[in-house]
Symmetry: none
Subunit: 156 residues, 4 copies
DNA sequence: CATGAATGAGCCTTCATTCAT
DNA sequence: AATGAATGAAGGCTCATTCAT
């Protein structure tokens, strides 16, 4: 029984290759054919899975954020201090990997000049921040959101 | 009486324009002609003052670091805690300007993938760190240098 | 049944156009887009088949030499005087075409200042000269090679 | 008493430098500032003495031809075979110098694609050929001119 | 789905030429 | 006469993107 569609496997292979290549060379010094070679697929295929390089960047940028650790903790239905600790631990684990550290740095620099990416990042961050504030403090006010942000920023 | 050579004025005008443009668009999204327009000179003239775009990047990268505040404090012959406070204040003043903040971010991201720039930055930083460690703690050991770096990093 | 790959057809079309354009304008007065237009392809495609303009020049330079007539005679297994006559005739046929005459002149001038091209030409010429000396005189000594060169030079 | 005007000295210095530089690098690979440096003058000054690079090329091209030896022989009022021998000897002397040989090669290649230069060279050559034909054979008919040309070409 | 040839916009850089001093 | 800063046109090359197969 085939649980993982072949389609998704290839897509994931491309994303994974792109993360590695982007982290190493930076977005603008990484031509598409580097990614294609790293992923072991043709250049053209990348445009079958992603409309443009920008869209690929967009998804990579999202992955450079620690969304996955946060989601993982949220799915455990933790609350208050325990949730916060879980998220903190997730951060540390993720950014122990230099590929993710490099990627985050590039993403932040990109966001500084690339409106679409900046907006996307901001949206993703605010969404998660609100949920965390809600679950940790019981309400998602301006103050509690800032508290979350400060805590997570300090971990970096 | 003309104390500043016209030659240096133009060079400075270009550097200043480049900082603004690079900070706004990022190195790779900022074509030379953006800088030329911002500086009010022709594209060709930039290559009269700088051998290549890379050389321009190099000088800008150095300027994105807080070398000037540090040098300014050092020239006051301060020591110990006072020197540290002076440098700390210099940092805050410099990076209050979003142009400098953006530039630093781009420089760090660049350094992550651009060996020449990374090396140049590292050299400049280590040099200043050693001097500060010496003046603040009385000796430039591995530990005192790390202390300096940690303190300054924390300010960011 | 298609015996010639499409890929080679295009490559040949570019080379042929380049020979014509270079012969007419000279290497340095012939921008890539002249060749592209003459070949009926895009500028970019030329760099798909040739790494650089220099690589294109290199291959054209080799073609400006009378290698093909020489090879043609050699493949007939002629020897002595008959081989010499065959080669001589090949020369005359090739350089009756003004495109080839112009190309040879440009190639020689280029070789006078372009080390890489000069070296490549020299290598190709010496190789063929040795083989001819061997087949015509029975041995490839310094003297017989000079004799071959003098004979062929006189035909020009 | 100043017999040579300073003006002509500088002009000659530029021409001499240009011949050396052109012979070494070829016309198109020799930027004006190479010549300026070789001559020890500023780039701008070259345009004071020569309207354009093309005009400079033009004069250099003329100098790559063996006009001077021919004129020298003509001024000796020789005739017939003796004139021919004098010219022949002049040729050999001039082209013993690799700078002149290189220059002639470049000039011929240029003439193949640069109409103005080709025309100028042709004019100069025909003029001298006619005079030589007249002095050597007693008349400047088509046949005698071809004879002169053949003789001189054979010397190369 | 997959490939890679083909396209064209855009960028860095060079260089002849001008001109204020 | 002489200088060298300033200009702008043009060229080689890269690379995201398209498309026929």
């Amino acid at each position: 029984m085939m649980m993982v569609r072949e389609k998704d496997v290839v897509r994931e292979k491309i994303l994974s290759a792109a993360m590695k290549v982007f982290s190493t060379y930076g977005y603008f010094r990484a031509p598409i054919h580097y990614i294609a070679k790293e992923a072991g697929v043709s250049k053209g295929l990348i445009f079958w899975y992603f409309r443009s390089k920008e869209e690929l960047i967009m998804e990579i940028a999202a992955r450079s954020l620690p969304l996955q650790p946060v989601n993982s903790c949220l799915s455990k239905n933790l609350q208050g201090k325990e949730l916060l600790e879980c998220v903190g631990k997730g951060y540390m684990d993720k950014y122990r990997d230099p590929v993710h550290r490099g990627l985050l740095l590039h993403t932040m620099a990109l966001g500084n000049t690339y409106p679409k990416i900046a907006e996307n990042i901001r949206k993703l961050c605010e969404e998660k921040t609100s949920i965390l504030a809600e679950k940790v403090f019981g309400e998602a006010s301006t103050e509690t959101r800032i508290a979350i942000r400060t805590f997570l920023g300090g971990l970096m």
